[in-house]
Every structure is written in structure tokens, then in C-alpha cells.
Symmetry: none
Subunit: 413 residues, 2 copies
Amino acid sequence: MNAEIIAVGSELLLGQITNTNARYISSQLAELGVNVYYHTVVGDNSERLRQAIELAESRADLIVFSGGLGPTKDDLTKETIARHIGTELVMDETALTSIEAFFQRINRPMTENNKKQALVLDGCQVLANHHGMAPGMFYSNGKHVYILLPGPPKEMEPMFQLEAKPVLARWLNQGEVIISHVLRFYGIGEAELETQIMDLLEAQSNPTIAPLASDGEVTLRITAKTSSEEEAWGLIQQTEKELLSRVGNYLYGYNDDSLASSTSSLLIDKGLTIAAAESLTAGLFQSELAAIPGVSQTLVGGVVTYTAESKINQLGVSKDIIDQYGVVSAECATAMASRVKAMFKTDIGVALTGAAGPEPHDNQPAGTVWIAIIMPNDDVVTHELHLSDMRNTNRLRAVKRTFHYLIQLLSNN
Amino acid sequence: MNAEIIAVGSELLLGQITNTNARYISSQLAELGVNVYYHTVVGDNSERLRQAIELAESRADLIVFSGGLGPTKDDLTKETIARHIGTELVMDETALTSIEAFFQRINRPMTENNKKQALVLDGCQVLANHHGMAPGMFYSNGKHVYILLPGPPKEMEPMFQLEAKPVLARWLNQGEVIISHVLRFYGIGEAELETQIMDLLEAQSNPTIAPLASDGEVTLRITAKTSSEEEAWGLIQQTEKELLSRVGNYLYGYNDDSLASSTSSLLIDKGLTIAAAESLTAGLFQSELAAIPGVSQTLVGGVVTYTAESKINQLGVSKDIIDQYGVVSAECATAMASRVKAMFKTDIGVALTGAAGPEPHDNQPAGTVWIAIIMPNDDVVTHELHLSDMRNTNRLRAVKRTFHYLIQLLSNN
């Protein structure tokens, strides 16, 4: 089966946003064994969209659309498809109810054009949108399959994963089971990880092993295709074991885990509480932890001490330490972690202080960061980082490294 | 002049990388007033690439290619184009010298296939590659213009900016000026905003007005095409005035502004300091502010009080308030803001407390949030939000709303 992905939106052609949807959908289709031969982007123009559909029909069996399902008059994807394939748009009552409920919840009047979002292709299977208003659609007319998805990635990605993919997998009527399992690594570069498993990468056929790097993390996706789920998991486990014998030191989690969720799970499992004192990261460490539901079992709170004075006055770091060693130092980080642990009466205290950049800070070059962690037995662990001069990359990297150190400390206990 | 952008590379169709080149080239072409009607992605397959070229020639004057100029046998962009338009590939001595110099510099032998990178379309203008080996090309045969660029963004972007764009601008021989100006809105939905300016959207020709929504924000891009910069700005200002007379209440900034940067600028301009006490957002408000360079002039710090106990013990909120009103209340938010303002001795105190979700919290449904802001004159402003049950969307929305309220308060002073 061959597919073409058509993204609809003039903002893509104006270069205002990047077509990340095509990458996401392509990688999902690759997992289902569907070949993608073309991506197309077309603007909010009905005639040009129609031509793109006609062309796609001439060279693909499956056409996946993203964008153009919203309430405004620019949004014309489903209208154009309906006219082109000769079918009607009908009101989907479930979608309409959910749109009305949305406006009630946010206590704003629903303008008339919002109703248009609940119109769907007659005879389609409706794909629920749990993160927005416009529903998606799965439609087959015997010659082609059309999947219509909303444009915003945070609506499109879960809809594809949870709604469209299972329907498509059934439709492909595979008799085959495809299972993927993702291993997540931190603290090792993609090139280095690849070098260590090169022979396995080169010999792979089933399961396949796909490395992917982003934001300082590397993942390996193991995918097995077999006739039964049990057999697939057997193959995956064998490959996982082999991989972890090489690079297991850097593993921090699986599938949808994040560094924050792995940290939170370990803390909760061990019944430990945590507090943080943050300078350059200004709350980012705590905020990333708080993104994980249930974290109130372990995160008590903390302080943001952005200025030297607030480190002294609100956190109680001794002025002598700051005068002698500066705010970007192991000594200051240790004092901050120790003070916040005492203030919030937690088992673990964490501190981050440094020069976020782009300018140097307190005589330290941009990218210099000190992390201190004080464990329940009062053991102190400090780490110095030398990052770039990019402020927000540094702040995020410092937070990720802190999670990584915590995972290592908590896993070894 | 109309353009089509063709990115060549099977890794794009497999979803391994995102086509950021199309966005970059589109935004650059928009600046030159070139309309982009299609993006196409095609794999490393000569026949499918040839079909894509033929199609692009039927609907565009300018075709911009990225990718497929490297040394390996997969790289076949220029070979396919040469065959298709009936021209030869010839060795470019300057490019060859620079490739040889590159290998000398890294002290490695140059393999024979690297020479292939110095082959260019006969009669083209060569575009130098200052960040890699493969040169780009600008070629016109009277019917179409073909621009060939390398795939890696760090080679492609400077080559387009410094080499291709000036050549293209001269070729277009414009005498025309195109200026864009972006207005940024918050607190109004895209559909509602469009409804309020529908007549202007429908009547638009020059300047054009393009709405775009993302993450609860809406932007309007005004673009004018005229013979002089002065005239373009005149047209833009007239349109802006008209737009703001309708929806000016929701304007928070221009162009690259963000809610956080607009807040930070206003605070710094007015010489005011700020501290925050955060519960559900757990540092996200402070962290978003700290993403802006120079914010240490206004952000002193704050506390994260994730638990009820920490609100009492570390922040000093009275236990009575929490017992009587609960932690998700105007009273608790006000006490938090007041306490953090006093603790950190700042001009402004901000507090966020609520039920992030997905579960209810302290008898309040998920998505209930209270925001309190205490101004320099001790005026207290509180707001209640009713958001969704999506934890992290709620946390981000609560922070954005807080910035929005601060901008309104600071702009009115």
C-alpha cells in the first residue's frame, strides 16, 4: 500500500510554521509498513487542493490530510474533498455536543461558524478529537482511503495514534502483529551509541532497530512483525537484552517515559520527598516534575532565587559563601540544596545555579552550571557542566542532567 | 512569480527528519514577494523525482530543490535535472579546489566519489557552499528558473541567504518593496477575532491580512507590496489602525514578542520588580519569564508551594484561610501573592493556585485556577479560570493568562 500526505495551510507555504505533521504521520505509517512516496503542501485554496487530491489519487492508495478542518472560511479541506469525491457533509451530533460543551466550559459564547467543525463526510468513520474541537475522519470509497486530521500537532498526533492508526491497521487486515517498544537513553551521543551497536544495526531484519536523537536524548525503537503478540514480545525481549548488554548504563526509561516521569516514579516508589532551589533554571526543574500527574506525593515545593540577595535573604545561604566562591560554584549550589532541604523538610534537596547566557555571570562564562543534590543520608553530590552560550538550551539541559543524576542515584540505592 | 519547493530525500518520507528547509525557503521567498503554491517531498528515486519536476514545471516559474547533491549514489538531484532539461554536468574547478582543500585540512584522503560533488549544470551560476562541500546552482533556461541547494539546513540556510537570494532578487529585478508586520493577540479565539474583522478580511488585497492561531494565541500578519518602504508602512499603519479599533483590547505585542517578553519589557520599563508564588504551575511562570535575557532586572525570585503544608510553613499563608476557603480560592491566591511580595520585597506579587488535573483537587474540578496579582499600590486583582482537564495545557494556559493580566494592568498605568 502506498500513501501520500497532503498538508493544507497557507501558513506552511508562507514559511510561518514547519510541516512537522508530515514527519509524524510518515513515521507512523512506516510502522504499519505503508510506503510514503510523496509529501505535498498546498495552501488554503480549493482549486489547488482539488488538483493535489486528483494527483495523489493517481499515485497513492491512501491519502492522509492534515489541516483545514477548523471553523473559519479558510478551512476548506473537507468541503473540497466532499465535492471532489461526490459525497455530502453531514452534522455529527457527538462532535457538535462536544464543541458546545467546550464553549460552556470556557464560558464563552459559541459563534455560529464553530458548528461547521462538526460537519463530517457522509459515511465516514469519525475520529474523536480529545485535544481540540474538529473531529477527524476515515473514509473509504473502495478505490482510495482518505484520512482527514486536524492541523495542530497536539490534536493531530494523539488522534492519529489513538484513533486513526488502529482503524487503519484493521483496514489493512494484516493478520500480522506489529509491536514497537522504545528504549530511552540519556548521557550518550547518537554517534557513540550507534558505534557500540553497529553490528546489531547492520544485521537487523526482524525486529528492526531504529535510533533517533533529539534534545540530548537518544531512543532505540525495536519493532517486531510476527503472527502473534507473544512471539513479537519474545523477539523484542531478546533484542532488548542484547542492546542493554552494550549500552544499558545509559537507559533511563521506556516508551512514553521522560526523564521527569522516571525521576518522579523512582521518588514515589521509594517514598521520598524532594524540594529544589533554582537560580538559572528559575523554576523549570520543579515545573517539569509537576508536569507529571501524581507528583504531589513527592514534590513539596521549593524556591526560585534569581538574585544573589534572594539566595541570602530568602534561602539563607551565607553571605560569606557567596563572597568567597561566587554564586556559580559548588559551594553555593551545596548551600542552596542544603537550605531548601531544611526549609521544606524533605528527604532530598536539589539546587541549580549557573550562567544561563548569552552573557557571562558572576565572572563565569555562559554555560557554566553547578548542580548539587543532597540525599536522605546527607550525602552531597555536585556536578559542574560546561554548556553553550544559548540561554534556553542551557536551562533545559541543566534540568535534564539533574533528572539524569537523580535517576542514577536513586537506581543505585 | 510562482514557486514550488521540492525537497529530495527518502529520510523525509520515512519520517526520520522534518522538512525544515521548506519553511525556511518559503519565508525567504515570501520576503521577495514570490508566491509559493506547493511544497513537494520526493524520495531518492530518479523516476519519481523526474515526475515531480515535470509537474512543478507545469505549475510554477521557479523550482527550488533541496537535498541530493552529496557524494553517494543516492544523491541524484542534479543528474536527474540535467537529463530532464537536456543539459550536461561539467566540473566546476573552484568547487573542486575547495573540496580538495577541505580533505587536506582534515588530513584525510579524498575518495573518488567526492569529486562528483563539484559537477554542476552547464551554464549555471554556481552558489558557493561555505559550510560544506556540495555547491549550489542557479540555472535559468528562459522558461523556468531552477535553484539547487544542499539538504543539511546549516549548509542550505546560509547559502540561500547569502548566495541564492541576492541572485534571485536581481533576477526578479523588482523595484517592489514587500513589508510584513505581525500583530499578536491573546484572550480572543481565532473564530471570534475573524468574525469581528470579517469585512476587512473579505475586502483585503493590499495589504493582505493573514490570521494564524496557535496555543491560545492569535496573530494577524499584515503584508504590503508597494514601490517604496514609506508607502508600504503607510498602508500597514492604516490597516493596523482599523484592526485595532475592532480588536485592540486583545493586542499584546508585535512580531517576535511573546507574552513573557512583553511582560518583562513593561516591568523593566517601569522599573518594577516581581516575585511569584506558584502551586499548580510549580515554577512555570517564573521559568517562562527567565527565558527572556535581561530579566534579572525585574525577576527577584519566588517560591513553589506545591502542598498545603508548604503554603503555610514556607510561605506563611494562614492555616485559617486554607481551612476556611481551601487552597483553590481567591483568598488563598491573594494570601500567597501578598506573602511572596513581602518575603521577596518586590513591587509586584503574583500567585497561581488551582487544580491542574486530570483529577479534581481540594474539592475543585480539574481546570479551576485562581490567579492573584498585587500591584505596587497594594491593589489586589484576582481572576478565576475554568480550563479543561488536561494538566499541562492548563498549567501553560494559566501562566499565559497571568502574563496577559499583567500586561493589561501595566499598560493601563
